[in-house]
């Protein structure tokens, strides 16, 4: 009974299936047509097109994807917590300013954003004029209030307790209202005055400042931020804010500062802040953020300058050693991996489908000799200079990563900067390219030191390259009479040893920006980073003059004086600039290696797909 019923049911079902199968033919075709239509609409590259969908080359609707390792976490790159490469990469072309440092670490004026001119040298007076058409992407004009917010935040003028500092008067225990990454430069200015809506502002310096052209820079720690957003969060408007600055109204300023400090900090759990909080003043605005995965920048229609060449830039977060395979698979178009023999051969294996731009970065390796410890004797330092296999270090350890790598012969000007040739020729470091063992022996003998003096070279561990550098130095300098000891230290102990000056020689790298405001701290006899005890009146004089030099043409000569004195005193020798590379698909045009810390996206508005 059961069995017959089951068979009957089966038969019925089978019959039904056959009937439906007949209709199935038509439903099949209809489904394949929908598939085809959706495919073609995707090919057209509408707003919904995916990032890897390239759309039609060179037209609107195109997307270029860039791989970056460090994740975005703050819209305000000027605050202490936000001033990091990770954030600047995103806002390079979102928050522009009056000037920027280009890929070769040369300061450029951003005339599309606005103009500025020095109207007086004594006192140093600079007149800034925003472009007439300058507006935030929400339509609010850019003007006086935005300038004042940048000034109030980065001048260190307002203290948490509501008191106000005077120009150049740094309190003993500063507790500023605004957590600005840097107050250099603007702390020397007087409070600018302007009325809400003004398009031009005059800044008067109390004392001259070498980087005055970079006061409102598009860079890590200097971007202009939307004052109307901060004012709104503080319960007022731009006029109210301008008034608060004018009257030093502590209550309003505190609210503004609170927002400036943390209101633009991103919370992964909440996602991208509302568009009204993060308006743009550049060719792109931030359109989407997928924490841990990507940031999407779209063309800002309100941008008044040259429009971006590509509609959408997607920044994907990919660790450096995975970027080459992502480029190969077509998921990204532009990458900035760490150049090393492995990366280079992987890139080379991709052949013509990829273009790679190798070069040096503004991070230079050097060996500091401590006058306070093992190298108090000048003849010993001379011996150390003469036995240094600098060219060999570059050839053996850097050329495999950067085929064009050159020996660095200046501490203050990099190989890629204009004027390097002259600076290198004049510095005197060129004499110590190849080891001169005989000369080193003679200098060692003249020092009166017994042979076999132990020299501790400290460096951060693990770092195979530095271990190899020390090995090469030891192979040569031990012949001259030294007993070089490799002292690799973990970051913690290394930092402590270097800042306390507890070393005979320190092998490490400084990262620079192309600006000169920070140079004095490195070499001045009282400089905070000078822990080797260097003390030369020539260096101090040149650097003190540099700090207040407002004429860019004077700067190279002063830097050369510092180089010459560093070489003459045998204080420290440069070895190489770190290698860098930017690689991109051969159908992309525009990316260039950026030597400074702002990464390849510094010119993303010029990237374009060509085929």
């Amino acid at each position: 009974m059961n069995r017959t019923r089951a068979v009957g049911l089966t038969a019925l079902a089978a019959a039904a299936a056959l009937v439906l199968a007949a209709c199935g033919g038509s439903s099949d075709t209809s489904s394949s047509t929908t598939a085809a239509t959706s495919a073609s609409s995707a090919g057209g590259g509408g707003g919904g097109a995916a990032s890897v969908g390239s759309g039609t080359p060179g037209t609107s609707g195109d997307t270029i994807t860039y791989a970056q390792e460090q994740e975005w976490y703050d819209y305000n790159p000027s605050s202490t917590s936000g001033s990091a490469t990770a954030n600047q990469v995103v806002v390079n072309q979102v928050l522009r300013g009056f000037s920027y440092v280009d890929n070769n670490a040369v300061l450029q004026r951003d005339t599309e954003f606005g103009t500025f001119e020095k109207t007086s040298d004594n006192p140093l007076t600079v007149k800034y004029t925003f472009d007439d058409k300058a507006v935030w992407s929400d339509g609010t004009p850019i003007g006086c209030a935005d300038f004042l917010l940048s000034w109030a935040a980065n001048s260190g003028r307002y203290n948490k307790d509501g008191t106000v500092n005077q120009p150049n008067a740094t309190p003993a225990n500063p507790s500023y209202m605004f957590d600005a990454a840097s107050t250099a430069g603007l702390s020397q200015t007087q409070k600018p005055t302007c009325a809400d809506g003004d398009k031009s502002v005059t800044l008067v310096y109390d004392t001259p400042f070498v980087d005055w052209q970079a006061a409102l820079l598009t860079s890590v720690g200097g971007n202009l931020l939307p004052a109307h957003v901060a004012a709104k969060a503080a319960g007022t408007d731009t006029a109210g804010f301008v008034k608060a600055v004018e009257t030093d109204d502590a209550a309003t300023m505190t609210k503004i500062a609170d927002f400036w400090n943390s209101g633009w900090t991103l919370d992964k759990a909440k996602g991208l802040p509302d568009a009204s909080v993060i308006p743009s003043a550049g060719p792109y605005y931030v359109a989407a953020w997928d924490p841990g995965q990507s940031v999407t920048l779209k063309k800002n229609d309100k941008w008044w300058g040259t429009p971006a060449k590509t509609d959408t830039i997607v920044i994907r977060y990919i660790s450096q050693d995975q970027q080459v395979s992502a480029l190969q698979s077509g998921e990204v178009d532009v990458i900035e991996p760490q150049p090393n023999p492995d990366t280079n051969s992987a890139l080379a294996a991709l052949g013509d489908s990829v273009k790679a731009d190798f070069g040096a970065l503004y991070t230079w390796e050097h060996l500091d000799l401590s006058v306070k410890n093992g190298f108090a004797n000048e003849k010993l330092r001379e011996a150390m200079f003469k036995c240094a296999p600098r060219q060999q270090i570059v050839d053996n350890l850097i050329v495999p990563s950067n085929p064009d790598a050159q020996l660095l012969n200046s501490l203050n000007t990099m190989n890629f900067q204009p004027g390097y040739e002259a600076a290198a020729a004049a510095s005197g470091f060129g004499a110590y390219a190849e080891p001169d063992i005989e000369g080193a022996k003679a200098a060692y003998a003249a020092s009166g030191e017994a042979p076999g003096k132990a020299i501790r070279i400290i460096h951060v561990d693990p770092n195979p390259r530095r271990t190899n550098e020390v090995a090469l130095i030891k192979a040569n300098c031990d012949q001259a009479g030294f007993n070089i000891q490799d002292v690799p230290l973990a970051t913690g102990p290394y930092g402590a040893a270097r800042s306390a000056g507890d070393y005979d020689a320190a092998l490490f790298a400084w990262a620079g920006s192309g600006l000169n405001g920070a140079t004095p701290t490195l070499y001045l006899s009282t400089g905070g980073s000078n822990t080797a005890g260097w003390n030369d009146p020539d260096i101090d004089a040149a650097l003190n003059q540099l700090s207040v030099s407002t004429n860019p043409d004077e700067v190279p000569a002063l830097l050369t004086k510092v180089d010459q004195a560093m070489a003459k005193n045998f204080y420290s020798y440069p070895i190489f600039a770190f290698p860098g590379v930017v690689a991109y698909k051969n159908n992309i045009d525009g990316p260039v290696l950026n030597t400074t810390q702002t990464q390849a996206t510094w010119n993303m508005q010029d990237w374009v797909r060509t085929g």
């Binding site: 089951a6 068979v7 995916a50 395979s325 698979s329």
Partner: protein, 507 residues
């Protein structure tokens, strides 16, 4: 059970407390996060150091700092969590939640596959002990177990993603691939079937010819250019599902269960044709609803037709319904593949990330996008976990199958199927439960290498990044989540023992 759970919770709490103290002190002593700033020429260096000191309370000695942190963390018990800030000043909880979500998405899928496949293979190799199949699986298990993930990952990216995507643009199957695949399939079939030489030979021949024919069909019709599950394939596969489900739950001694599953399969085939318009662009809710509905219908058919074998029939029909639902789902997914491929420029199998940025498409395309990104990391995790599961299941199953009660069961005259599935397998699962529970706890801690290599910012990467700084608050956030997970899953394992083994329940 309740007092047991409460006692366990109580002890676990103090274990966790002690562990947090040790970990906190270790991480806080591991290094000073401010050291990274020492090599910077940044003019704002002093401010940054001050801010980091403030964010991490670095001016407070370690022990009081731990108790301050503990105070905030204990707030989690009353819903006022304060896990502190990271070195850059963001709240720990936000980043942790995102990392957690990402890891769960990655791990759950992989874990289910690893358990199902690993346990099945382990069981089969135990039943075919010392066969060619057993040796091959043992060899592969040890091979995968010992392979470094980063290396496998690189190979997979190159061959399963980049090369496969290129191949998919103009798919052609060379003859040698057909031959090799057919032979391998034949060998597997022969190994699984076992028995005397003639039986194995028949299995080998049958399987290899079937696979060869299938591959030739794929090659001739250019199936990979426009993949789909056609009506014939759907009918055949549904029938196979029905037969397999019957074999697993009831055997073929009584035909009633088979008829019930076949009816379910027929309903499934009808749905395959009928649901096309509904499934054109469904919502996730609709798909889940349909799956639940399918299970209910399956259970209904089983209950109605099962007669004396009702409970087996219900289970078998539900499995069949699930299988048919899966086939319909797969056929829709495959149909959406060409459109999806065009949208992502042919990058069907992704090498990096969790999704294509800003991808928008219908349900099937977004599902394909997620699956395409899950594929490689899942394989990486599965290959490694599967090796362990296979080995454990095999040895546990072998031990059980040699036990006295199995001999008794056989002596009673039970079918081999009943002996294996009801008496053997169930008991063999007990030790596996422990391993699975520990594994789940461990995997929630993230698969650091897999995540890094495939660009998933999950718990593993979160922990790794935090430790590099080192940022005690972030590390502790991570530790709190993983520690709790391990404690919880251990307890779940203990409770599961009770369900698997009545003796444990009663004591």
């Amino acid at each position: 059970m309740a007092p047991f759970i409460i006692r366990r919770l109580f002890i676990s709490f103090f274990v966790l407390l002690g562990a947090t103290f040790i970990v906190y002190v270790l991480v806080a002593s591991a290094g000073d996060p401010r050291n990274a700033l020492l090599e910077s020429t940044d003019p704002g260096k002093a401010n940054k150091i001050a801010a980091m000191t403030r964010n991490l309370s670095l001016d407070v000695p370690i022990i009081p700092r731990y108790f301050a942190w503990l105070g905030g963390a204990l707030g989690c018990l009353i819903g006022k969590c304060d896990l502190g800030n990271t070195a850059s000043g963001a709240p720990v909880s936000g980043g942790l939640a995102v990392a957690m979500g990402s890891t769960l998405r990655l791990v759950v899928f992989a874990l289910v596959i690893a358990i199902v496949v690993g346990v099945s293979i382990g069981m089969i190799t135990a039943l075919r002990q010392y066969s060619g199949l057993d040796y091959s699986v043992t060899f592969l298990a040890f091979l995968f177990f010992s392979l470094p993930v980063f290396w496998i990952a690189v190979l997979m990216k190159q061959f399963l993603a980049i090369k496969f995507n290129d191949w998919l643009k103009a798919p052609s199957i060379p003859p040698w691939v057909i031959v090799v695949t057919a032979v391998v399939a034949g060998l597997i079939a022969a190994g699984v079937v076992g028995g005397d030489r003639r039986r194995r030979l028949a299995a080998f021949g049958g399987a290899s010819v079937a696979v060869a024919l299938l591959m030739i069909y794929f090659a001739v019709t250019d199936w990979f250019a426009e993949p789909r599950i056609g009506p014939v394939a759907m009918i055949a596969m549904s029938a196979i599902t029905a037969v397999a489900a019957t074999a697993l739950f009831a055997g073929f001694r009584s035909r009633i269960v088979l008829y019930a599953t076949l009816v379910t399969a027929v309903v499934g085939v009808i749905c395959y044709f009928a649901l096309d318009s509904i499934l054109a662009d469904p919502t996730t809710l609709l798909v889940v609803g349909l799956l639940v509905l399918a299970l209910i219908v399956g259970a209904g058919i089983g209950a109605a037709m099962g007669g004396l074998y009702r409970s087996q029939a219900v289970k078998a029909c539900m499995l069949t319904a699930f299988g048919c639902g899966g086939l319909i789902f797969a056929s829709q997914l495959l149909a959406a593949l060409p459109a999806y491929s065009a949208k992502v420029n042919g990058v069907v199998v992704a090498t990096i990330g969790a999704t294509t940025p800003n991808f928008s498409g219908n349900f099937w395309e977004t599902t394909l996008d997620q699956l395409g990104h899950l594929l490689l990391p899942t394989i990486a995790i599965v290959l490694i976990s599967i090796a362990a599961y296979t080995r454990y299941t095999r040895s546990s199953m072998l031990e059980v199958m040699n036990a006295d009660y199995i001999r008794t069961a056989r002596a009673k005259g039970l079918t081999e199927r009943t002996v294996v599935v009801r008496h053997g397998f169930r008991n063999a699962l007990i030790p596996i439960t422990t391993i699975v529970a520990l594994d789940v706890g461990g995997l929630i801690g993230g698969a650091i290498i897999t995540e890094t290599v495939f660009g998933w910012s999950g718990m593993g990467k979160y922990f790794n990044d935090a430790l590099k700084i080192p940022d005690p608050n972030a590390v502790m956030g991570f530790f709190l989540v993983t520690g709790t997970a391990i404690v919880l899953f251990n307890m779940i394992a203990d409770i599961t023992y009770g369900f698997l083994d009545p003796r444990i329940r009663l004591s």
